[in-house]
Symmetry: C2
Subunit: 270 residues, 2 copies
Amino acid sequence: MRKVAVCAPATPLKREYAEAVAKLAASEFPGITLDFHEQCFIEEGHFAGPDEVRLDALFECANAPDVDAVWFAKGGYGSNRIARDFIGKAGPQAAGKTYLGYSDCGTLLGALYRAKIGRAVHAPMPVDIKRDGGDEAIRRVLGWFGNGKTGLEPGLSGKPVAAFNLYTLGMLVGTQLMPPLDGHEILIEEVGEYEYAIDRLVFHIVEHLHDVAGIRLGEVSAVPENDRPFGAEPEEIVRYWCERYGIPYLGRAAIGHSSANRIVPFGLEA
Amino acid sequence: MRKVAVCAPATPLKREYAEAVAKLAASEFPGITLDFHEQCFIEEGHFAGPDEVRLDALFECANAPDVDAVWFAKGGYGSNRIARDFIGKAGPQAAGKTYLGYSDCGTLLGALYRAKIGRAVHAPMPVDIKRDGGDEAIRRVLGWFGNGKTGLEPGLSGKPVAAFNLYTLGMLVGTQLMPPLDGHEILIEEVGEYEYAIDRLVFHIVEHLHDVAGIRLGEVSAVPENDRPFGAEPEEIVRYWCERYGIPYLGRAAIGHSSANRIVPFGLEA
C-alpha cells in the first residue's frame, strides 16, 4: 500500500487532526503518501458537505488509478445516505482498493463487502489521533498499510469475520446494503448508548443474524447513567440474547471507540 | 368494553398514577371496571419485574374470560423481550380482546397484529396521567372503551393503518414480530432522539417498509440539542426519505408522547 486517499463520507474532520496524522505519517512512514481530500473539512449542518459532495469525493478517491486505499476520516453518521449510490456507480478502479474505517462508516464497509467491491477493513480512522494514545492507533493503520500483518485484532481465528458498531449494524440489517454474514464471526462494539438501548439493539441484530458463527463483544464505552440501573452489564446482555437465539457467544474483542481499536479485515484474511 | 385489565410489559408504573386513573374512571366512567395487576408496580432493575413475571401478568390479563381489554400501563422498553413467548402461547381467550398502548408497547401491538390475535390499538396509557392535560388523555381512552368512536386520530382515511414510535418500529422491522404493512398508512412519532438519529431510523424503516400506502408524522418532541445543527427538521427528514424511496408522505398525525396523543386502531377501523 503506497498511496492512501482520505475522504469523509459522514461528518467533517478538523484540519488540525489531518495535519497531525500527515506529520506522523511523513516522519515515520516515508513509503506511504497520504492525501486528504479537501472535502474532509467541509461543514454543512451535521455533514462533511451535502450528500452529492461527499459522494463525489468518495468517487474521486475510489476511482483514482494510482490510489491503493481509501481511508475514511471520521464517522459520526451519514455514510448510509451515499452508500447505495456509491455501490451502484463505483467504477472498475474501485474494485482493486482497500477501504478502511469503522463506526458509522461500517455502513460503507458492509455495503462494499456485500457488493464484493475491493476489501473492507474495520480500522482506526484519522480522527482517532485526538484520543489518548491516538498516535498508536494511527501508527497501527499506517503500519498495516506497510505490511498487511500487524495491528490485527488478536482473536481472528481463521473464520470469516466482520466488525461493526452495534447501532450501525442495527440500522444496516435487512437493508439493501447488508452483506450476507452466514458463517461469520461478528464483532460488535458500542459507545454512548444506555444499557436498555444496547439490549434493544442486540435484540434487533440477533433477530436478523441467522447462521452466523458467533458474536464477540468489543468495548462498550461511555454508557450514560440512566435514572435507574438496568440490571445487566453489556456482556450479560449479549450473552442473554445469544443464548436465546442459539448464537455462540465467543467472548471479548479488541475493537471499540478508543485508541486500542484493532484492525479487522472483513471476510477471510489471506 | 366493560372490564379492562392493566399490566406493564415493559417498565413499572407508579402507584399514585394508577390511583389517579382509577379515581378518574370511577367518578366519570362508572360502566367501566379498571383492574390494575399488581405486577404493574414491581421494580426490578429497568423492568416491571423479570421477563417471566411480566409475561405471566400479561397472560393472566389476556386469558381472563371476563376481561374485554388489556391496557398497557407504560412503555419505556422491554415488551420485545416477552412478545414472542406471549404470541406463541396466547390462549383462545386472548383472541377476543382489545390491546391498547403505544411507545415501547408498540412491539406487542405489532406482534398481535401480525398474529391476528385480538385487536391492536395505539392509545394513551395510564402513565400519561402525569402529563400536562393527562386527564384528557385518560378520558379519551375511557371514552373510547365506552363508545369505540371518539378520540380517534382525525386523519384516519379508511385505509388500513398502524401507528408506532419510530425507534420501536425501527427495532421491529425484519423481526419475527413484524406485521406485514403493505397498503397501510404508517403513523410514526418520536421523543428524545437527536435529529441525526431520527434520520438514521427513518432510513432503516423505509428500507424495510415496502409497498406501504404512505407515512404520516406525529409529534417529534424533546429533541436534544446536538453540538451542531443537523440542517433539517424532522418533517424535512421524513419527506427526504419518503421521496428517495417513492413512499407517499401524507402529512402530520395527531400522535406522540403528549396528552394530545390520539387513538389509532390498527388495520381497518370498522
